[in-house]
Amino acid sequence: MNNGSEMRRIVTAWVIVSVIGDLLWWFLVGPHIPPGNMTESAHWNQFDFNILAVTALPVVFMVWIWLGYAVVKWRDKPGVPDPVGGEAAKASRGVQAGWITITSIVVVSAAIYGTIALIGDHGSGGGEGPNPVWAPEGAIAANNAALAGKATWSPAGSQPLVVQVIAQQWKFTYRYPAFGGMETDRLLLPVNTEVVFDVTSLDVIHDFWAYQLSVKADANPGVNNVAFADTKQQGQFMVRCDELCGIWHGAMYNSGRILSKTAFMAWATKTEAQNAQNTKYLPPFAWTYTPDANGASGGLYPDGNVTPYSPYDVYGAKQPAA
């Protein structure tokens, strides 16, 4: 068998397997790839995953077929000719150049596509820091209005809904500035609405992961990490902490729900009334709530700036703080 026909065989097998694999993936597997279609970004992130998958599958098949062929055919067994030697076996300029060119093109296009998807989809549901640059229309304005205490939301309009996610060891709670700044321990959202999540933490780093919404943003103490989600379907979704936050990290989950706009409105107004007594004790809505590094009982850092400083006072005070 000559060189050419061997390569033809391999390439033919590769093309067939790749086409079949890609088609199977795209039509059978792809639609079931998480995170599903509950939000706009979930939809596009699923699409993005599938784009990468159909790009990656041929690469995987290429290597596997090559390995398989090599193991079967290019073995040390009777009848197999001695391997080629000399310069030809050491390097082929064409193959190297081709490989480098093709991998570069694939890789750079993947990066370009990823960037387009990221920007076009307003950060794809990922945490965008305190000052998001890729925000949906009106979201920043709504978020600023919330800080000024002027947040509103009604089922009729199309205003974004601002929700604050407060992570603490080991539970998420949520504040709705449009409903009197009430705080709840359940996350309910209206459908067909742009939701602005202001994610922050009261202690260590957590990560707010609303799985089916395709929203993931680290909750950092003293930092507001903003993420967006455009809800599309009603239903239940899972919220988990995705950054190791200590002993009860594994138990830091609960479920949320996307409701119809009217049902959400009904729930929100009812809860606002129920919680009114507690809401009045809450601090005004803010991006972050600077926690006391010392916790409830203190006893770690000395309070305030100790002047004049003496190591003895800071470290070796005779009477331990109560």
């Binding site: 790839i33 998480p34 970004s41 993005d48 995953f49 990468l52 690469v59 090559w66 390995l67 193991v71 290019w74 073995r75 040390d76 197999v80 391997p83 080629v84 030697g85 076996a89 050491k90 390097a91 082929s92 190297q96 490989w99 480098i100 570069s104 890789v107 750079v108 990066a111 990823g114 960037t115 990221l118 920007i119 950060g123 794809s124 549901g125 990922g126 945490g127 965008e128 820091g129 305190p130 640059v133 780093i205 990560d207 799985y211 993931k216 680290d218 103490p221 003293g222 930092v223 899972m238 995705d242 990290h249 594994g250 138990a251 600077t290 926690p291 590094a293 006893g299 770690l300 470290y315």
Partner: protein
């Protein structure tokens, strides 16, 4: 640093005896139990711990915060610090630096022959290499046992074997021990043993630094293990602040352990990089350097330059813990982002510290078994150096969802995906070398092929992870966990196994049993994939890392993964049995060059003499000239050992 001219001093002094007249007393030479060895190290290490702990209690038990929380981290830290110092003193690692302070130059310390030299501080790179073999296997087995514990807990979504605190402790300890092990698993044993042999050198550039690196590596094992005595640490191997600052004294073991291991990594990398640059045999130009040495050079450079950043990060953490600075505490002017940046600035090069040696081993072994030259040598070398360089510019891809510099995400997405170009070179090289070869499926070759299989999955999923939109779903989930197990275990550990099966005949003069080896390979390969492939699905279905409770619908997959993991553990027992059986119980003498390799390391006498080569070889041509009848031998041994060898099989010696 120990910069000196031991051999030249002795040479010009004109004495044949290794210990010249001006030598200081060298305790490591003394025979018997009076000398310094592992025993004295243990004793002094223990005494150091007791002293440090007492001193810490004396100093700090009255500190306000310590009186409040009732856990004296200062005592624990000082205990560990003096334990390490005592350990180094006891083994004799500090003799030379101290003597040097007084201008005394001990001669070359030739350790006593026999088994006992493996328990001593020694200047022979081959002994250090063997010590490292035992050291990394100890790390590997400890970490592996903890992995079994993790999988046991995950058998059931809500019924718990361990309480959540203990579970996090196990997870963190497993991750940290394995990461520490993986930085040295190839550079330590194989790098130290083989690099001088492969570059035709009689010695390392700084043998004392080399030996020091091993003994501080072993001290690091004790330090990180000590975390369990202090109640563990809850942060995983990434040690994110401010959870780190909140944790108890177990965290000090983690921070100090990484600092100690970091010193070991820096010194090992420093010595090896300098050796490769300077001690190559005459004629070994950069285009004639074996590919394994290239990979070790790239790794050593990363070790030397990236680890200081980890050291700083650990130092900051220790300061936060011990003297209440606030480097990682936002409320007092610090920043939790600071740790994330420093840690990953080291952490990403570290990922390649754990990948490159594997590539090197494979590129070294594949030509031997396909009887073909290495395809695209220059591309392979460029790939390794390219990966090493690019790895400094990708660290933020661990922080896509963190809110740090979110507008930089496209840039880091690009750099991360760019790094798959040089990584892809390894595949070009491997596939090109397989092309129309004459492959012998020996155990090392099987492990190499498995690396190509596994690392492909690991690498491709890495591209998924680097894509920010997809990262939103998979970040921090079991998908990531599976990805890096595919690269580190599927890549590096498989390559390490290939290296052991391939080079142990040289290192010990004994062959590994092939039949057991095949059993080991197939069980490890199959169960590795059965353990970790389901984890991609588990991750995609929404299970975060490091949780002790998960969704009920994932129990089937988790159980499958757990049971496969137990079988994978059994496969390691099989390896251990093979190692014991072939090396100790029923040793079979290995042929001088069992794989018919052209590599320089196989041309020295077996067992390898103290100075490796009778004559310094002169390299006359490129490596890997297989299947070239009439090609000259790789090296000219000038009539010394190895003369006449160096071409193989049908090749004709000219």
């Amino acid at each position: 640093m120990t910069i000196s001219a031991e051999r030249p001093t002795e040479a010009t002094a004109g004495t044949a005896s290794p210990a010249g007249p001006r030598s200081g007393s060298s305790w490591t030479n003394r025979p018997g139990w009076m000398s310094q060895h592992l025993g004295t190290a243990i004793v002094l290490g223990f005494l150091g711990y007791v002293f440090g702990h007492w001193w810490g209690n004396y100093l700090a038990s009255g500190y306000t915060y310590i009186a409040n929380n009732g856990q004296n981290g200062v005592a624990d830290f000082l205990g560990l610090l003096f334990m390490v110092i005592g350990w180094l003193l006891g083994i004799g690692a500090l003799n030379y630096p101290i003597l040097k302070l007084f201008g005394r130059e001990p001669g070359e310390e030739t350790p006593a022959p026999g088994l006992s030299r493996y328990f001593r501080y020694t200047l022979d790179h081959k002994v250090v290499g063997m010590q490292y073999v035992v050291g990394v296997l100890l790390f590997l087995f400890t970490g592996g046992l903890l992995a079994m514990a993790i999988r046991t807990e995950l058998l059931n979504p809500t019924v718990h074997i361990f309480n959540p605190g203990t579970y996090i402790e196990i997870v963190s300890e497993h991750g940290t021990i394995m990461m520490m092990m993986a930085t040295s698993i190839v550079v330590g044993p194989l790098g130290n043993y083989l690099v001088p042999l492969m570059i035709g050198s009689r010695r390392m550039a700084f043998p004392r630094v080399e030996a020091f690196s091993f003994w501080i590596f072993s001290a690091g094992y004790m330090v990180i293990f000590s975390a369990l005595f202090y109640g563990g640490f809850p942060t995983g191997w990434t040690g994110y602040a401010p959870l780190q600052n909140q944790a108890g004294p177990g965290m000090i073991s983690y921070l100090f352990g990484f600092a100690v291991i970091g010193i070991g990594m820096m010194s090992a990398g420093f010595n090896i990089a300098v050796t490769i640059v300077n001690y190559r045999a005459p004629g070994m130009t950069w285009s004639r350097v074996p590919m394994f040495v290239w990979s070790i050079l790239a790794t050593a450079s990363l070790l030397t330059l990236a680890t200081p950043v980890l050291f700083t990060a650990g130092l900051f953490g220790l300061l936060d813990h011990l003297v209440l600075t606030s480097l990682y505490v936002n409320e007092h002017g610090g920043s939790s982002y600071l740790w994330e940046n420093l840690f990953w600035f080291f952490g990403h090069p570290e990922v390649y510290i754990m990948a490159l040696p594997g590539f090197g081993i494979v590129a070294e072994i594949v030509p031997v078994f396909t009887r073909k030259p290495l395809f695209a040598y220059k591309v392979a070398a460029a790939g390794m150096m390219g990966v090493a360089l690019l790895s400094f510019f990708v660290w933020q891809h661990h922080l896509f969802q963190s809110g740090i510099n979110p507008d930089m995400r496209p840039l880091f997405m690009l750099t991360t995906e760019l790094i798959s170009i040089p990584t892809g070179f390894i595949y070009l090289v491997g596939m090109g070398s397989l092309y129309r070869g004459k492959m012998r499926l020996e155990v090392p070759m099987l492990f190499c092929l498995a690396l190509y299989f596994n690392f492909l999955i690991g690498g491709i999923t890495g591209v998924f992870l680097s894509d920010v939109p997809v990262n939103v779903t998979v970040h921090g989930s079991f998908f990531v966990l599976s990805h890096f197990h595919y690269t580190i275990m599927g890549g590096l550990v498989f390559a390490f196994m290939a290296g052991l099966y391939y080079w142990l005949p040289k290192m010990t003069g004994r062959m590994m049993n092939k039949k057991l080896g095949l059993w080991h390979f197939w069980t490890m390969f199959v169960f590795f994939n059965l353990t970790f492939f389901p984890m991609f699905i588990i991750g995609l279905l929404g299970q975060p890392r490091r949780v002790f409770e998960y969704a009920h619908n994932l129990q089937g997959l988790n159980d499958f993964s757990s049971i496969s993991a137990f079988c994978l553990g059994a496969s390691f027992l099989l390896f251990f049995w093979n190692l014991m059986y072939s090396m100790i119980i029923n040793p079979k003498k290995a042929p001088a060059n069992p794989w018919e390799s052209l590599g320089l390391e196989w041309q020295t006498a077996n067992p390898v003499p103290l100075y490796n080569f009778e004559r310094i070889p002169v390299i006359v041509t490129e490596p890997y000239r297989y299947s070239e009848p009439g090609a000259p031998a790789y090296a000219d041994f000038g009539g010394g050992t190895g003369a006449g060898a160096g071409t193989v099989g049908s090749s004709v010696q000219e």
